[in-house]
């Protein structure tokens, strides 16, 4: 069964935290990269198949100041883009 609320990072994808404030996701099969800011890294590290999107949002609110009201939508959009690119998945 897929848990459609608990996304997981594709284990093939490499998180490369190049500098303090920027990182890239690297797909060694395609050689393609996807840039992340520090917030993206925070979310990526919680894509473990155990955290739901709501869990991540709560942690985000605890961790960061001045989270905008639209954060929920941004978070979902970000995760959706990772899913579309094959960087994250719902595990069966």
């Amino acid at each position: 069964m897929q848990d459609h609320n608990k996304p997981a990072a594709n284990p093939l994808i490499v998180l490369r935290e190049e500098f303090e404030d920027s990182a890239i996701l690297y797909n060694p099969d395609s050689g393609s990269t996807f840039a992340l800011n520090s917030l993206g890294v925070f979310i990526w590290k919680r894509l473990d198949g155990l955290h739901s999107e709501e869990d991540i949002l709560i942690e985000l609110q605890d961790h960061c100041k001045n989270i905008p009201e639209a954060a929920d939508a941004h978070l979902k959009g970000f995760i959706r883009s990772l899913l579309i690119k094959g960087l994250a998945e719902y595990r069966t």
Binding site: L12, V14, L15, R16, E17, E18, F19, Y26, P28, D29, G31
Partner: protein
């Protein structure tokens, strides 16, 4: 200075052995010529560390990488540890089955094969008899399995007047999408055979003109990061900037010619970490004993190489009175080391003023 947490790529000399003894080989007769090969397990252990460091790409070189009987095991280790790879080879040991295996991994960015002539006599003159045919066979095996082939032409005194025929062979007969060029540098074995191998100023000028012309004919399918074609471009930009016509030169006036230590490092065949394959005398520590990430971030030698970009060219007697001093970047530190014994010096071989004084032509644009 912002430094990456870990290197993006690492060059691995997986063997000190080679089936050839090319007369301008930069490996033999250099400090990387250690005559020692690490066991498979040592490399596999390193690959796990590279994975943990999120290294993206490794380049397998030697010696000759295809000399290693465990090459498939090593490549499988690279794939398992989420990296892509390139191979630098003389091409003579590449078999149909090995090419098929490389293709199957889906992770190879390219195999670089050296071809230095359009016919066996020229290629083999410095690489040994029979090796042209073997290298071409290796290329054909790679092509058969759709592995990206990067042919590198090292320009020297015996092939400089054959560039047109070489381009025809590579781009028309073999149907490669492009190829790259450099020239034999004062490193390794070339240091002992320099007179017979390295281009004179006249030959270098000829090569610059010929490559520009060929690149026009073949729509920019010839590349270079060193050697006559690269010099054409960089010297033309320097001329333009000096006359106030072109764009300013990024990093001009300082030793900024090499960005290698900002993104990559290397490992010798004996497991000693070094900044670059051409700076193999600079021992940074040993793999699987010293932590690569700590070496990368903290080793004083790497820090010193990174700080090189703060050294002003005007501080060198060598550059005194040069019109180009604010537009020059000092070029390759390894070449400076090999010629002068000091990597913190502009490379004399890449000096435009010196080249022109000796009768070299002014570079034209149009690459």
């Amino acid at each position: 200075m912002k430094v990456m947490a870990t290197p993006r790529s690492v060059d691995l000399s997986i063997t000190g052995h080679c089936n050839l003894r090319c007369r301008y080989c930069s490996h033999f007769s250099s400090p990387s010529d250690v005559g020692e090969n690490l066991p498979t397990e040592a490399w596999l252990k390193l690959f796990e560390e590279l994975n943990a460091c999120a290294v993206m790409n490794v380049t397998l070189s030697g010696g000759e990488p295809f000399c290693r009987e465990d090459l498939k095991d090593l490549i499988e280790g690279i794939v398992r540890n989420r990296m892509r790879y390139n191979i630098l080879s003389n091409g003579t040991l590449i078999t149909d089955r090995m090419a098929e295996f490389i293709a199957f991994t889906g992770r190879c960015d390219g195999v670089q094969v050296s071809i230095d002539g359009p016919i066996p006599e020229i290629h083999d003159s410095f690489r040994g008899e029979g090796n042209f045919r073997k290298a071409i066979a290796g290329i054909r095996f790679l092509q058969k399995h759709n592995v990206n082939v990067d042919v590198r032409v090292t320009i020297h005194r015996k092939n400089v007047y054959n560039l047109e025929k070489i381009a025809r062979l590579l781009l028309e007969d073999l149907g490669l999408s492009g190829f790259s060029t450099n020239s034999a540098s004062y490193m390794g074995r070339c240091r002992h055979n320099s007179e017979q191998i390295q281009l004179t100023v006249k030959e270098r000028s000829f090569a610059m003109e010929a490559l520009l012309k060929l690149n026009k004919k073949y729509n920019g399918r010839i590349f270079a990061s060193a050697g006559p074609l690269a010099e054409c471009e960089s010297w033309f930009e320097m001329e333009q900037a000096c006359r106030g016509k072109g764009e300013s030169i990024s990093g001009g006036g300082y030793l900024t010619g090499c960005g290698g230590p900002m993104s990559s490092m290397a490992v010798r065949a004996d497991g000693v970490m070094i900044p670059c394959a051409q700076l193999s005398h600079l021992d940074l520590g040993r793999i699987n004993t010293d932590k690569l990430k700590a070496v990368w971030q903290n080793h004083p030698t790497l820090k010193r190489l990174r700080e090189r970009c703060r050294i002003s060219l005007s501080a060198f007697d060598f550059c005194k009175g040069c019109d180009y001093v604010n537009f020059c970047t000092g070029n390759c530190p390894a070449l400076a080391y090999n010629i002068l014994g000091d990597e913190n010096h502009p490379s004399p071989d890449a000096c435009l003023r010196r080249f022109l004084k000796k009768g070299g032509i002014k570079a034209r644009g149009g690459r």
